[in-house]
């Protein structure tokens, strides 16, 4: 265990200069805590890219180590739907791949002071105590074992009905806050993954743990979904249908308002700029070029690329909004290129070391802006790789079955991608540090996954 005891200043009194998950001081009154929680939840809606630029924080005395997996003990949960709360918390913390979860499934919830020495013997650096209060709030206390004290307390109202998507989301937000309090990094439990259906069907949105799937309204045969940086809008490209042409559709999930844009020909692969104001997409009757247009505007899309006769698709922004990576056939086969966001200075990114298989595509910028994940044909089969933007060093991330179409989680270490390793096209999540993978979907025919930013708790009526 690499815990180092921090003496001063105390975490509870430190003021975070960045958007923080819902945490509050244990010493404050309940009303004050709730206000703090709601304010913090609102802050969560801010672009998620900043999360991994957090200083190597120590909330309860740990320095974040990418390879270390400090243990966190979960005590039995009390109150209505306690089992579900415990199961979701445990799974979320496990799926973080940053913590080892010690579950205490038997016995009563500890009352009174925790026996910190006992947890120290279990090598737990923190103990998480959760309960559902009679008034329907999720109460979570995180204890620092080494300091023998309560590090933070959260009280979050659980929306009715219990076990609903919104209800589960509050538990996910609590999980991320626990992770933040232990490691100084927020988790990715409060995220969702949108994906399209092969051979038709709507865009589906599923929680990070694979639960709570729902269909995006009006998204039949809509491909390549993309989240805006607040996680409140989704774009996708609708296939032509009869006399209705190919177009990009943006739906605001809060208001239900939709907006479509199109240029003549095929319209596809939209992505939001990191400030959420622009949409960049690919379109054309023969050649496919990249276009930019302000979202929900009547402006004419502005062409960014002008590469006669070639296909230019699948754009993705660098987190700072200055660069765009995309797939281009300018060499006669697909390769990944990087250019300035205004369309200038295009340069081949996947330039060497790929042998005779001339096919690389579907780039995705990592949230720290240092790497680009993409798919590459290797001996006739596609695998997900990542390339450094600076030195172009590459690493192959997958090898089992065919693996395509990567998208990064906001934590910058997990990716979601399409894999055929079960014989069907399913989404899988992989921790790029440990290569641990888990199956996210089970319905088959999944394609084009897009990982959302961290999502705030929906407003209650």
């Amino acid at each position: 265990m690499n815990a180092t005891h921090q003496t001063s200043p105390s975490i509870a009194s430190r003021r975070a200069p960045w958007p923080v998950p819902p945490v509050s001081r244990a010493s404050r009154g309940r009303a004050v805590r709730l206000v703090a929680v709601l304010a913090a939840l609102a802050a969560l809606a801010a672009p998620a890219a900043a999360q991994d630029t957090l200083p190597p924080g120590v909330r309860i005395g740990l320095a974040y180590d990418r390879n270390g997996k400090p243990a966190v003990a979960l005590t039995p949960v009390t109150g209505p739907n306690a089992d579900s709360v415990l199961a979701i918390l445990a799974r979320d913390l496990d799926f973080s791949d940053r913590l080892t979860v010690i579950r205490q499934d038997s016995g009563d919830a500890p009352t009174g002071a925790l026996n910190y020495d006992l947890y120290a013997k279990l090598n737990a650096v923190a103990v998480v105590q959760a309960s559902v209060t009679p008034s329907g709030a999720l109460h979570v206390a995180v204890h620092e074992v080494a300091g023998k004290r309560v590090a933070l307390v959260m009280d979050m109202p659980l929306p009715a009905p219990a076990l609903s998507r919104d209800w589960r989301h509050v538990v996910h937000v609590a999980s991320d806050s626990v992770e933040w309090s232990v490691l100084g990094r927020s988790g990715i439990a409060s995220t969702r993954i949108a994906y399209a259906a092969q051979y038709g069907g709507p865009v589906t949105v599923v929680d990070s743990d694979g639960e709570g799937a729902w269909a995006l309204p009006g998204s039949t045969e809509c491909l390549s979904p993309a989240w805006d940086p607040t996680g409140t809008r989704l774009a996708c490209n609708a296939l032509p249908n009869g006399n209705v042409p190919s177009r990009i559709v943006v739906r605001d999930l809060v208001t239900g308002r939709t907006w479509t844009t199109r240029v003549p020909g095929n319209n596809q692969t939209a992505v939001f700029s990191p400030d959420g104001r622009y949409l960049v997409f690919s379109a054309g009757t023969e050649a496919q070029d990249l276009y930019a247009v302000p979202v929900f505007s009547d402006s004419t899309p502005r062409r960014l690329t002008s590469r006669r006769g070639s296909v230019n698709v699948s754009p993705d922004f660098s987190p700072d909004g200055r660069k765009i990576v995309f797939t281009s056939s300018i060499l006669g086969h697909p390769e990944v290129y990087i250019m300035d966001a205004d369309g200038s200075s295009a340069d081949l990114l996947t330039s060497s070391g790929f042998g005779d298989d001339l096919y690389r595509s579907d780039p995705a910028f990592s949230p720290d802006g240092r790497r680009v994940a993409f798919q590459s044909r290797i001996k006739g089969t596609f695998q997900v790789m990542a390339i450094s933007v600076t030195d172009k060093s590459t690493v192959q991330l997958t090898s089992e079955g065919a693996n395509e179409s990567p998208s990064w989680a906001p934590d910058g270490r997990h990716i979601v991608f399409v894999s055929t390793r079960t014989g069907r096209r399913e989404l899988w999540v992989m921790d790029t540090e440990s290569s641990r993978a888990r199956q996210l979907t089970h319905g088959g025919r999944a394609q084009n996954p897009a990982w959302s930013p961290r999502l705030s708790v929906p407003r209650q009526p």
């Binding site: 490209n237 496919q288 698709v313 096919y359 044909r377």
Partner: protein, 202 residues
Amino acid sequence: MNRFRIAGLIVLTAVIAACSKKPPPAPPPAPEPPRVNQDSIDRANKARADSIAAAEAARRRAEEAARAAEEARRLEAARAAARNTLMAKVYFDYDKDEIRPDQQATLDAKVPILNANADMRIRIEGNTDDRGSDEYNLALGQRRAASVQRYLVARGVAAGRMDIVSYGEQRPVAQGENEEAWQQNRRAEFVIVSGGNPLKVP
């Protein structure tokens, strides 16, 4: 001379002998002719003639109908053949949008039909197999449709009569991870959007 006298005598004798026979009996009276109604005869004759004419007309009509039916069948068959020719898919090589030499005849055969139906509007739908990036393939399908359009424009079909779309790998006609299925899916399809009803055969 004596020979003549003798011969004359014989003839004379024969004539006398002949004249000595009894005269034949008087012939019996002619039978009473039947009493007939000429109108009825005329009617019968007319009916007969009419019947023959009607049968003849019916036969002619039947022949005419058969001819017309045959003609309609032939036309319908010709239309169906023309429609099939118009709908015939063209196939592509992996990751390519060029018209293959072995696919040109399929496209060439469409030109006279399109020319004969000047009011017709068609849609060319580009498709791909499911290997590679489905996002890249959606663009590849568009290029295939555009490639077909370009080919037909070069042979005199107005570009404005041909819409082009792509379904990428989203609408396969064959399932399976083998070259046969892949080849069937790497195709352009043709749909009549409007006009050409009835289809005029060139």
